[in-house]
Symmetry: C2
Subunit: 423 residues, 2 copies
């Protein structure tokens, strides 16, 4: 009968480990994965807390994530520090049944946090090559000190967790490489065209603020970001002598410049974007389409224009009109918005424009004067947060005697930043 | 006692499934993963064969991989075809104990391949959302027809395999997106500079052939490929009026052109490449360094120059000298190689140059005249394979009466392709 009980227990354990394997395997996001590992181990061992520390081989540090409310933050320390560091560097298992009776335990942390540590199990996380890539630290098992069986369970989960972590880190590396590549290219575009320096970046950030107000999904926001950063990539195919011509363009040259939208479509279509990003070439290349169908490159109209294209159209024209050019200052906001408003239902989608008007003054100025953000007065910027672009547009039209003190103060700060000259 | 046997069997099964989970989880390469799944299932069920078919949701097909000798090839068919198609579309399990007694079995395939199918188990592969993403087809269990227990085992593996497949496909998507992005950018560079059109592509392919002869690792080959495709990305920062100037460059302008190597380093350093690709910015930007330390941008010398930089230096100069320019044909091969040879130990590393001389005539011509590859005579190209660049270099210097018929024939074909004008 004893054998039966042992087998039952063993089966229970195997089932639990298999469950953990399936749960961890399905998570490619490193942060979510780390919280999942901590959670699964806490539950399977019936402990109060579990931390997972990963080795950063570049900096020789251990790092972990701590959840606090809705946010999480990273903690880091040198790889050999503390109990976790000892385990990470030696591979030893530390099973401490009574923390306060053990000299290796540092009670200072408890003092700071108000937590009372009873027992600790700290074990290395080893990958399939036997390399230590992290550390599990489990605290306060509810039914008393950690047993040898608990150690065995973690040992069985160790490989699974390590492989899941390595997969997630590799996936992260790929995502980050592609993102930084896109940003690098957008930067090059923004620098090459010195007349509109920083244009793609600003258009992208106006567009993302609009997207946020329209409650786009996470994937749609990412599509919008990439489409915005690369919406003018077609300009790379336009000779500089046309792009930067001082004098009036010939009809021929004007057509060549217009051709950039079509080139954007072609260039981006040659990228084998992930399935969820397939619409990016269309979004990016339709920022000169018009609601009435008289735009380019395709001449599509109304709802044939994807939402990303409509958002970029508003962001693009707003940036063009509020950009400082070589020989002139930016246009006044009321003129800019009036120009766009006149084109509603012809060029621009009112739904997008009115969402845009809901951007607050702080966000608009921060994007518009991005390269001078370090010279802003934080307090003044926070005041600018209190009104939207639409409200500012209205206020500007009021006679001064109709404004209360708060409005006057607001407009004063707004004008200061809108017209400020930096050197 | 019966309970004991059941528990033992259950235990054995759980251990086997856990083993499969760990094995599949660690593979992010879709192809290798598919073979691993087929192998694991074949073994765990004691069957003779196992195929895995995956659903291609874009084309509505099922596809699989078949190993043949050292290579593997893809097979594809419409998603509803055959037993696998039936299972993929209905989600039904088909356990056929006697294939030839079952009307759903198509004996034509056995007739073609000479295989004799006895029993078949075909089951859907479902992901964690219950979607069918593929089909397992297991053939000829050695100990007789498949049992209900076999079905249970596959069912348990199904989720694990599906998640592993989905992870691998997502990872593939990321890798492909980044690769196509790099190629797109390289294409743009190659097109912008119409004087040297196709330069980056050719340099990359010469470099890869050298790398193959030097037996570089898979990762090093990939580094070389990316570094080659982007080695001139710094030119994107040089104004076209300098880059394409017809007349002689001023010293100032020449310096600006030389600055492209430094710009390449800066631009590529802004990309957060995967850890294994960290050297790419250095490889790409050191193609104008010289062995004697008199190159640029850093003036490093000898072994301070990474192997990738040395390879690209030889490939780069070879392409520059063998490129057709607007007003002149390419230089004769003997002149080109003599120029490079004179610079051995000063500019170029002899180790790399002599490896380069081992490229065969077919590979050199195929890269050099890549845009005309469709006009090549396959037979003639195959003859060009028989001699290396080094041998051609020697042959050219022979007097005609010293050449045998085969040599003459070879040189005739070589000259034809080297000097051929296409329209």
């Amino acid at each position: 009968m004893k054998q039966l009980a042992v087998l039952k227990e063993e089966n229970r354990r195997l089932n639990a480990i298999l469950h953990v394997a399936q749960s961890l395997q399905s998570e490619l996001d490193t942060k979510k994965l780390m919280f999942k590992i901590m959670d699964e181990i806490k539950n399977i061992l019936g402990a109060d807390r579990c931390s997972v520390f990963l080795v950063d081989f570049d900096t020789k540090e251990l790092w972990s994530l701590v959840a606090q409310g809705m946010k999480d933050f990273e903690i880091r320390f040198p790889m050999e520090k503390g109990i976790a560091g000892h385990v990470a560097t030696t591979g030893e298992i530390l099973n401490i049944p009574d923390a306060y009776a053990d000299p290796r335990f540092n009670p200072e942390i408890d003092k700071k946090t108000g937590y009372k540590t009873d027992n600790i199990l700290t074990m290395p996380m080893k990958n399939q090559n036997g390399e230590i890539i992290g550390v599990f630290q489990v605290l306060n098992k509810k039914s008393g000190p950690f047993t040898e069986e608990d150690e065995e369970i973690i040992e069985a989960i160790s490989h699974i967790a390590a492989t899941a972590v390595e997969n997630a880190l590799l996936y992260d590396e790929q995502v980050i490489a592609l993102e930084s590549f896109i940003e690098m290219l957008s930067n090059i575009l923004d620098k090459r065209d010195y007349i509109t320096a920083g244009h793609s970046w600003r258009v992208t950030h106006y567009a993302l603020e609009i997207g946020k107000l329209l409650k786009l999904s996470e994937d749609e926001m990412e599509k919008l970001r990439i489409a915005g950063l690369l919406h003018d990539i077609g300009k790379i195919g336009i000779p500089e002598k046309i792009l930067f011509k001082d004098s009036k363009l010939t009809d021929e040259e004007y057509k060549e410049i217009q051709n950039h939208a079509q080139l954007t479509a072609e260039i981006l279509s040659s990228i084998r974007f992930q399935r969820k990003f397939k619409e990016i070439p269309l979004w990016a290349s339709s920022h000169h389409e018009k609601i009435n169908g008289k735009g380019y490159p395709k001449g599509i109209k109304g709802d044939e224009i994807p939402i990303g294209g409509k958002i970029l159209a508003v962001a693009d024209v707003f940036d063009a009109l509020t950009s400082k050019r070589q020989y002139r200052d930016r246009d006044p906001l009321e003129k800019v918005l009036t120009i766009i408003q006149k084109e509603l239902n012809e060029t621009f989608d009112p739904y997008i424009f009115y969402a845009f008007l809901r951007l607050n003054g702080k966000d608009v100025i921060t994007i518009m004067e991005n390269q001078n953000a370090d010279k802003f007065d934080k307090k003044e910027l926070d005041i600018l947060k209190n009104k939207t672009l639409g409200e500012i547009f209205t206020l500007i039209h009021f006679k001064e005697e109709m404004l209360d003190e708060e409005d006057k103060k607001y407009l004063e700060i707004y004008y200061k930043y809108y017209w400020q000259k930096y050197d």
